[in-house]
């Protein structure tokens, strides 16, 4: 029984970290219909900024997180205006080529500016070290990540389903010209949701940095995992992404605990099974 709890808590923590990092990609791919392979690059930029803020500027962790999110958005604005705007509605291949190109540029720049070594984001005192849960101990920052994941899921759901911005966003996605005809400024809506997606990427990069450390190849290394989460959950669906993360986190953790020699076999087996039964992802909408 203790083993079951133990696996469950690890799975929850891992799934939530996956969720926080991947949800921004789900937004760009599902709501904006852009296959954004540079998502990991934005997460990495956020991580580098937070690392620099805490280690070199001596800022508090909370400020560093905010700074990372907003600074990454500011960096992303010109990129959106100059590059992404050309590929909205373009064929997938064009989008993939453009965004992978951006990724390689970011890797090169990060390597040049910050060097090839690992960068850590020092945690504040109360997030360090293990917390005793009675039946086992768990790292405090993992509980923090679980909380962040829940907050992000709730906030995003509210924003998209319950606010007028959410209505405009959904209208622009479903029929851009009709929405524009009705007076929705689609360019602004797109820019705002792109900023949100990038901000979420940066936030995920910082919160997940304990599990996925920041280094120049971060941008590519974890991209497959992010894409898997989005395709299993259904692009654009927040509950879908959450479900996918918890499910995949659970399968991966259980597999790794009970049968590590099978490696990622169970993870990808689950992905194949889910995608063949739900080609649009678990909660993806039909076009």
């Amino acid at each position: 029984m203790q083993t079951v709890f133990s696996i469950a808590i690890d799975a929850l923590a891992y799934g939530m970290v996956l969720f926080v990092i991947s949800i921004g990609l789900s937004v760009t791919m599902g709501l904006m219909r852009v296959v954004n392979l540079a998502h990991g690059a934005f997460a990495m930029i956020g991580g580098y900024i937070a690392s620099y803020a805490v280690r070199d500027l001596g800022l508090a962790y909370g400020f560093a997180v905010l700074l990372a999110v907003f600074a990454t958005i500011i960096i992303a604005i010109p990129v959106e205006r100059l590059l992404y705007r050309r590929i909205y509605g373009a064929p997938e291949l064009t989008q993939v080529l453009m965004t992978i190109g951006i990724t390689f540029c970011v890797i090169g720049i990060a390597n040049y500016v910050f060097g090839p070594t690992l960068k850590t984001i020092p945690l504040p005192e109360h997030l360090r070290g293990p917390i005793d849960l009675g039946f086992r101990s768990i790292a405090a920052h993992k509980l923090f990540a679980i909380g962040c994941g829940a907050a992000v899921a709730l906030g995003l759901w509210y924003l998209i389903e319950r606010t007028s911005f959410g209505v405009k966003l959904r209208a622009s996605v479903d029929n851009a010209s009709m929405a524009a005809a009705l007076g929705v400024r689609t360019q602004v809506v797109y820019a705002a949701s792109f900023a949100i997606a990038v901000g979420l990427a940066a936030f995920g990069g910082v919160v997940g940095a304990e599990l996925l450390p920041i280094e120049p190849y971060y941008a590519l290394r974890y991209m497959v995992t992010f894409l898997v989460v989005v395709s299993v959950g259904g692009a654009g669906s927040i509950p879908g992404a959450l479900l996918a993360c918890l499910l995949l986190g659970g399968i991966d953790t259980t597999g790794r605990y009970l049968m590590p020699e099978y490696g990622e076999f169970f993870f990808y087996l689950a992905v194949i099974v889910i995608v063949s039964f739900f080609p649009r992802g678990l909660l993806g909408k039909a076009n």
Partner: protein, 391 residues
């Protein structure tokens, strides 16, 4: 027309004049991509040697290094580049090679090309047996892992769990530890092989805990995975529970230490080189190599393999007087002994692998808050026990 012929003749004479006394050395390594740091260390070691030994001249001969980049393990590309170096650039020596598959891929070329190969890193025992023209100045995973089993036994540890990444060097480390620890009378209670792409190590740590072992012997490729692994080791309370962390020194290479930080303090590793090694040779080396690499914090073990590799190549060039004779060159350095920055070393006359001291080190913290590998014990004149397993 006349002009063209004259310029062609001029070009040819200039070329031949240049090749007559320039000896080219082709170095293959990861100079871009995720492993660029290791390639940078190759370059730093080579530059440091050249800077401190006659600024690129041996007698009348000029030395020229030609670098070729293989960003990650890619045998086909490695072979193609080595071929190009031999045929087009006319290199007399091949050197470098960070990954085993890359080194393996070029071994069939050596005899025909009449070119010796100096392996500056690739650490699988079998490489050296593939051709009589190979010399290795780095280490093997067997060589650095086996002494750890003795350390474990000496410290009264009898039950160990091994956790390695599931790839060549990981499996090598597991076998080396298991074999030696078994011979010492210890028990390996469980052996876990994890996929290379593992991000979350908590479940593994839980298993380590449940196994009831007194120590965990680990091997992972240096970089992000190692960081995650060490963190998980602390956060899951293994350190508090007194489960000792043992590993070969790849895990705590100096360029990763600032990121590993406090959680790494107390980890025991066995390895052939620590940047902190206390000797006059090493001080001079660290100074020259730090200058070459730019940022001293990036200096780690591949630089010393490259530095000593250059030493061997220089001795080979001296012995052959600059003429191309691979066998004579290799024969000349068999048994060659010298004082390396890592301590006394010798090229074993039979195996052509480097015999060297292996040090037991503990990650420790300087007063100024930086971390280093503190050498606490020396295993003198270690050969490569892995060769016995190959044969």
């Amino acid at each position: 027309m006349k002009k063209i012929i004259i310029s062609m003749v001029a070009a040819i004479t200039m070329c031949s004049a240049a090749t007559a006394d320039t000896i080219k050395i082709g170095v293959v390594g990861p100079f871009s991509g995720p492993f660029a740091l290791q390639g940078k260390n190759f370059k730093a070691g080579i530059d440091a040697y050249i800077a401190t030994h006659g600024a690129g001249k041996i007698g009348d001969n000029d030395i020229e290094i030609v670098y070729r980049d293989v960003p990650q393990a890619d045998p086909a590309q490695s072979k193609a580049l080595a071929q190009e170096l031999v045929v087009k650039e006319g290199v007399q020596y091949l050197a470098g090679f960070y990954f085993t598959p890359d080194a393996m891929a070029v071994t069939p070329l050596l005899e025909q090309a009449n070119v010796p190969l100096v392996v500056m890193n690739a650490a699988t025992s079998a490489i050296i047996t593939k051709s009589p023209l190979i010399i290795r100045t780095s280490f093997t995973t067997w060589q650095t892992s086996a002494p750890m089993a003795k350390v474990a036994k000496e410290r009264g540890i009898s039950k160990v769990i091994t956790v390695v990444s599931d790839y060549g060097p990981g499996v090598d480390a597991e076998n080396a530890f298991k074999t030696t620890f078994g011979a010492e009378g210890g028990t390996v209670v469980e052996s876990i092989r994890m996929p290379l792409a593992t991000n979350d190590f908590s479940p593994i740590m839980q298993r380590v805990k449940d196994s009831g072992a007194e120590a965990v012997f680990a091997f992972l490729p240096s970089g992000p995975t190692t960081l995650g692994f060490v963190k998980a080791y602390n956060e899951n309370g293994l350190k508090q529970a007194g489960v000792q962390f043992l590993a070969p020194g790849d895990l705590t290479q100096e360029s990763d230490l600032p990121a590993l930080g406090d959680p790494a303090v107390g980890i025991l590793t066995t390895f052939h080189y620590a940047v902190s090694h206390d000797s006059a040779e090493n001080k001079a080396f660290v100074q020259a190599a730090s200058k070459a690499i730019g940022n001293p914090a990036e200096l780690s073990f591949p630089s010393v393999g490259a530095y000593d590799g250059m030493h061997v190549i220089y001795k080979m060039i001296e012995a052959t007087g600059g003429t191309q004779d691979a066998q004579k060159a290799v024969d000349a350095v068999k048994g060659l002994a010298w004082e390396s920055p890592r301590g006394p070393v010798q090229i074993d006359a039979q195996t052509r692998h480097i015999t060297q001291n292996i040090y037991l080190r503990e990650v420790a913290k300087h007063e100024d808050g930086t971390f280093y590998n503190k050498e606490i014990k020396t295993f003198e004149k270690q050969g490569d026990p892995g060769l016995a397993a190959v044969k």
